[in-house]
Symmetry: C2
Subunit: 323 residues, 2 copies
């Protein structure tokens, strides 16, 4: 089935959902989290993600790593809004009760929960084909959420670390390439244990003008910021942070991984120039990769200022499509 049909479903439910501004709802479907109004000048950030076996992860996935990754990916949506982590629910559907599998899965989940400061507060266990739905909760002072809208012409386009590593790990995850050596190990860790940038997200409150987490690739996700903010974004090729591990493993595909590779779960955000130095001096791992310009869409330019076009289609996540 083409990806487009599921995109249509999403739009269908988005249209059916309440409009932003409805009583009690500060932000509905369409950003990294929804925001609910609470008493006491507080908002609740909520995000739900489902992972289905054979679509989002292979059946033979290591259950410990799967537990880590499932929660890491969901928690990243809280980071993208600048929310302080609160808790999560887990709805798990299993074909059978395999004690070893569950024990390892729960350890992976616990491990990521401790790293993120999130607590398992509830859930449901049902029988059926393996799938996981995690709903994460965070809190925010009212009006301080980082959304995709708000980037201004002249802002710096920044990311929270080296790009493309999770994409470079995909051939290793799928067993298409043998995972030998220290670089392979580093990349696999990035894929299976994404580290949501929750602290960075909170540090960016009141400073960044727009933000999201990179799940579909820098180009695609910057497209969301550009559209929501009604600006253009220019990415400078020479400033893309590429790790040694990425260059060694991906070789000629390193740039494709960095620009179009998903699953990094680093933050991408826009920052007024004056905000950069204090954040970097405070030790935040911020890399400037471009800027917001008048216009629309996302453009990549090389060191001569000439447009750069990927020779190669977009990134494929695990499985036949991203749905």
């Amino acid at each position: 089935m083409p990806l487009g049909e599921f995109e249509l479903i999403r739009r269908y439910f988005a249209a059916a959902s309440c409009a932003q501004g409805a009583a009690g709802v500060a932000l509905g479907i369409g950003d990294d989290c929804a925001l609910l109004e609470l008493a006491g000048d507080e908002q609740l950030a909520v995000s739900t993600d489902t992972l289905v076996v054979g679509v989002h992860f292979p059946e033979q996935a290591d259950p410990f790593l799967l537990g880590q990754r499932a929660l890491g990916v969901s928690a990243s949506d809280l980071a993208a809004m600048g929310a302080a982590p609160l808790g999560f629910t887990l709805a798990i559907t299993l074909p059978a009760a395999d004690a070893d599998w569950l024990e390892a899965f729960a350890r992976g989940l616990d491990c990521m929960a401790a790293r993120c400061g999130l607590r398992l507060i509830g859930g449901d266990t049902t029988r059926g084909p393996l799938s996981l739905t995690l709903t994460v909760f965070g809190r925010l002072p009212r009006g301080q959420a980082l959304t995709r809208a708000g980037a201004q012409v002249g802002d710096l386009l920044c990311v929270g670390g080296a790009l493309g590593e999770a994409a470079a790990a995909l051939p290793l995850v799928l067993g298409q390439v043998a995972a030998d050596g220290v670089h392979a190990e580093a990349l696999l860790a990035r894929y299976w244990s994404p580290m949501p940038q929750l602290d960075l997200g909170q540090a960016l409150r009141g400073r960044a003008t727009a933000a999201l987490d990179i799940s579909d690739g820098l180009l695609a996700d910057c497209g969301h910021i550009a559209q929501a903010s009604a600006v253009g974004l220019r990415i400078e090729l020479e400033h893309l942070p590429l790790s040694v591990a990425l260059r060694e493993q991906a070789g000629a595909k390193a740039l494709t991984c960095a620009l179009a590779g998903g699953d990094d779960y680093l933050l991408a955000f826009t920052l007024p120039p004056a905000e950069l130095a204090p954040l970097q001096q405070a030790g935040w791992p911020i890399q400037v990769v471009g800027q917001a310009v008048a216009g629309s869409g996302v453009q990549v330019i090389d060191c001569n200022g000439a447009p750069f076009v990927l020779s190669h289609g977009g990134y494929q996540h695990f499985g036949p499509s991203r749905d």
Copy 2:
């Protein structure tokens, strides 16, 4: 697979989850909702439920009715805590994008959302075997949630309406009996459009000493209150509210439906005797069916005060087991 294995999984995750009293968590796994502490003397009630095709509903289920029922069942957990409805997320996994099915499902969902005062605030759409995970949110003044613990000896045991109608509808739902006549129609409506008693739940705040919603049958659910509250509960057979539709449709099985039939999604709660009259005078549909006594467990007595034992095993929900 025996039901017990999934019960073990639930216990496993409950043990892995934070203890009640952990910072920010007022109530963890084990009641109808988890409670998160918020600023401003407010708590957030959260509940997650998954429905899997072939386990919780038949593949040929009418999508409009399925949408209604899925949200109604989840919202009932908010009613059971006395929470004011806020919003919900929907994670839907679908094998294919069928526009007619989706349109009808979303209409059913919208219809129940409007009846409950809940807003769709976010979600996820993924490809795979049909399943639905709904997470519902409500708000509560701090410390006013109705939990399963708190019933006192001498309290009245009450329910929010006529019992057993959804169970009596099950043979109609499964096509085992032809659905003819006005009674069949009424029962099917109770099954497919459970009406969560959200207003009653809020009216019981500060009055009821324990509460839950009847999902597994009066006997089984009263067992949860008895255990959590460390009291016994005595149910008086002659006071069970049985509708004409139930008597007509279920015949000799009417009592079994009322005592052991699940899926009613009415509230069951304990009330100090002095609280009853003002609530009934205010028009709340409260039926007294027994009382809390010293001891443990749930006992049913007939009009002579003799113990009554169901001749018949527990209630079966749709499908091979309740998981």
